[in-house]
């Protein structure tokens, strides 16, 4: 019995010792990593993997670039970084893939807390604004001047999105827009002219000829909408404008109950329920490729993939009009964190200038299918040749000057996209009245906008 007691005490002592060692370890290391506030410019991002370079004239600066490109896009991005690194010897860019747009933004949020931030970051249309409001990304005008970058050659629609109160915070890089896609074989079968419909009314006339029914089940729909999770609110944005409505005003007052916005929602509901020529799908690319839908609106980013994998010729066109033309932009751009040394900021800006110069913007567009962000890119010989080979891509680029930035309700209100998307699902799938649903959504968006508005007043006065 004696022996047993001793062992138990020994074990207890061991446990306590083990615990205090862990506690000591935690204490011992904490002073080494100062908990600097995020706005302290002196705090170097030492733990990001890339060693922090001390400024010495002539030494190379290594910058860490966090992005969301994987697959084919990731390869194109790495090729771009490699071209930059080979083009000069002062700056080395280290491209680090961080997951989806959402995961990259979350990692940056966590990194701000723990002081492990990159020197250059790719942020999507819905994420950059939150970091701007939080003061976590730098103003870029001064840096652009130092790097010899002139903003006047950028597509104004794309550039202005990243501008607040005359200051640039976010530079367009991988930008896309919605595009109307149609299956040319089915079009020919139905005896339709080989072009996208001019107006929704015209498409309404064509649609019955594109349908295929077997008894009561729809074998093939004329058109397919994505669901809330696959960003229906992005594609519906243009449709609201076409009907003369919008999600919100610039001052964050919501306009979901505007009669024209409701009219657009009623139109969406009718296409699926009353007219019955459209369906709602989780993966519209699959439905289109598989021939389950004759047409769709989808991102220009899908153009290359669809063209390669379709068993039929793919046709594209501008979005159909209603009262007006309406088409929004999307995708991601580049920003520079605010808590890094000036030397690294300038190095990051030098990379941005390279990646968005006339030639590189063209190479990126040809590799990926994103829009060229420079106006002059369209006239380069490489691009002209590419347009000749891919007239569909030219259509997408021609539509670009007609597009505009999305309403604040979707991109600047946290979760705004999903709030609107779920509302549209209620209208289309459950068949609830657009007016009642959008009244709810209006209230929900207004509530969700409050915290952002408060922060915004502090930042912008």
């Amino acid at each position: 019995m004696d022996q047993l007691k001793l062992t138990r005490r020994q074990m207890l002592r061991m446990m306590l010792a083990g615990g205090s060692v862990a506690a000591l370890a935690a204490c011992g290391t904490s002073p080494a990593a100062p908990t600097a506030p995020t706005d302290a410019p002196a705090a170097p991002a030492a733990a990001t993997g890339a060693p922090a370079q001390v400024s010495q004239t002539g030494s190379t600066v290594t910058i860490t670039y966090w992005g969301s490109f994987s697959g084919n896009l990731g390869e194109a991005e790495q090729a771009m970084v490699q071209r930059f690194n080979e083009s000069q010897s002062d700056i080395v860019v280290d491209y680090q893939f961080q997951g989806s747009y959402e995961e990259t933004a979350q990692k940056y949020t966590a990194g701000l807390q723990a002081n492990t931030i990159p020197d250059l970051i790719l942020l999507s249309d819905v994420w950059w604004f939150g970091f701007y409001v939080a003061g976590a990304i730098s103003e870029l005008d001064g840096l652009a001047q130092q790097a010899g970058l002139d903003f006047s050659d950028y597509e104004p629609v794309l550039l202005n999105e990243g501008n607040r109160q005359g200051k640039q915070f976010w530079i367009p890089f991988a930008r896309s827009t919605p595009l109307f896609y149609y299956n040319k074989d089915l079009w020919a079968e139905a005896g339709l002219p080989d072009r996208a419909p001019e107006t929704w009314a015209e498409f309404g006339e064509w649609a019955p000829q594109l349908l295929q029914r077997e008894g009561n089940t729809l074998r093939r729909s004329a058109f397919v909408h994505p669901d809330g999770a696959s960003y229906i609110a992005w594609l519906f944005q243009g449709v609201t404008w076409q009907h003369g409505g919008k999600y919100s005003n610039d001052d964050f007052t919501m306009t979901m109950t505007d009669p024209n916005t409701i009219r657009a929602a009623q139109f969406y509901q009718d296409t699926v329920r009353d007219l019955g020529w459209a369906t709602l799908g989780q993966d519209i690319n699959r439905d289109f490729l598989g021939g389950a839908a004759a047409a769709m609106m989808a991102s220009t980013g899908s153009l290359a993939g669809l063209t390669t994998n379709a068993t039929f010729p793919v046709g594209v066109g501008f979005l159909p009009k209603e009262a007006n033309f309406g088409c929004c932009t999307g995708g991601a751009g580049l920003a520079i964190p605010s808590g890094i040394p000036d030397e690294k900021k300038l190095a990051a800006m030098t990379y941005i200038a390279f990646a968005t110069n006339t030639e590189q913007a063209g190479a990126w567009a040809r590799d990926t299918g994103y829009m060229p962000v420079r106006i002059s890119t369209k006239q380069t010989p490489d691009m002209v040749a590419f347009f000749e080979e891919n007239p569909n891509f030219k259509t997408a680029v021609d539509q670009l000057p007609l597009t505009r930035a999305q309403d604040a309700a979707r991109v600047f209100v946290r979760n705004g996209d999903q709030i609107i998307g779920k509302g549209l699902e209620r209208i289309i799938v459950n068949g609830e009245g657009p007016a009642t649903v959008f009244a709810d959504i209006d209230a929900e968006l207004t509530r969700a906008a409050e915290p952002i508005l408060e922060d915004l007043r502090e930042v912008e006065g």
Partner: protein, 291 residues
């Protein structure tokens, strides 16, 4: 002890010959349904790995690849440094699992067989930890790991997951269900705690320990979010992140290549499971105590 000391995992299932046929038929039906529900996605993964992208998107779906292709495998393998991902996955899984099993066995032994003050409280804390979803601990864990300077290191991936309440709980319940007479007999023979643990408790509880180790291994092997958060560079990344890299962020997804990559992930676990599964069935302390 107020809490139930039984564990369903180690209890042998009693098959009664008197079970009416109807019930047995229903049982088979349920098993069939389970196999289909679990097996279908696995089958789809395997067959899609041998299809072209065009065929994967084709409607109606094809169950057998009509034009089988092996092109997805080299394409997936060459798209990212999978050798490095394998190495990292082996290190983090092995390290994490070993730490978790050792800690779970020792803490479970203490909770099951030792008397010490506030033992119930410790157990209650353990139960409370069991109820907390892993996602909630991610932010504090990240901050701790970052301040320790463990971002982008193996320690950063392994240590926060080295002790899981679930493992301790599972083994404590298993240890308590062991025949106490055998342990008492060992004690009478003069065996100390370590000896009892290694030579008596562990062999008898082998199925539970192996089960727990396997669960731990699969969880760590497949873990995606935590390794993604604490690593930044390609040379520290693990297999699941490698597969994510194969996916396009916008536009069309090349599913054939992703499924081929998924097979890289699944196959080692499958092999280990096939090798180890007999230890789950064997090793039950049958006949250790005379009825």
């Amino acid at each position: 002890m107020a809490l139930s000391e039984e564990i369903t995992l180690t209890r042998t299932i009693e098959t009664s010959w008197r079970t009416p046929r109807l019930w047995r038929f229903a049982g088979y039906l349920a098993m069939l349904a389970t196999v289909i529900v679990i097996g279908l996605p696995v089958y789809w993964t395997v067959s899609a790995a041998f299809k072209t992208t065009g065929e994967i998107y084709r409607i109606p779906v094809t169950w057998l690849p009509t034009e089988p292709t092996l092109a997805n495998f080299p394409q997936a393998w060459n798209a990212a440094p999978f050798e490095r991902y394998y190495l990292n996955s082996f290190i983090t899984t092995l390290g994490g699992m070993t730490a978790e099993v050792i800690l779970a066995i020792m803490s479970a032994y203490a909770l099951a067989f030792l008397r010490f003050p506030r033992k119930q409280l410790v157990f209650l804390l353990l139960l409370a930890a069991l109820m907390i979803p892993v996602e909630i601990t991610i932010v504090p864990n990240y901050l701790t790991v970052a301040r320790l300077g463990w971002i982008n290191t193996y320690a950063g991936i392994i240590i926060p997951g080295a002790a899981i309440a679930y493992g301790t709980f599972l083994l404590r319940q298993a240890f308590l269900s062991l025949p106490y007479e055998v342990i008492e007999a060992a004690r009478v023979d003069g065996a100390g705690h370590l000896r009892i643990m290694f030579n008596v408790v562990m062999p008898m509880a082998q199925p539970a320990i192996v089960t727990m180790a396997l669960l731990s291994m699969v969880a760590k092997w497949n873990d995606f979010l935590w390794p993604l958060l604490v690593t930044n560079t390609t040379n520290m990344r693990t297999l699941p992140i490698g597969i994510f890299w194969l996916r396009n962020s916008e536009g069309l997804i090349n599913w054939g290549v992703i499924m081929a990559g998924s097979l890289f992930l699944i196959i080692p676990v499958l092999i280990v499971f096939l090798m180890v599964q007999r230890y789950i069935v064997d090793g039950i302390a049958a006949g250790a105590v005379k009825g």
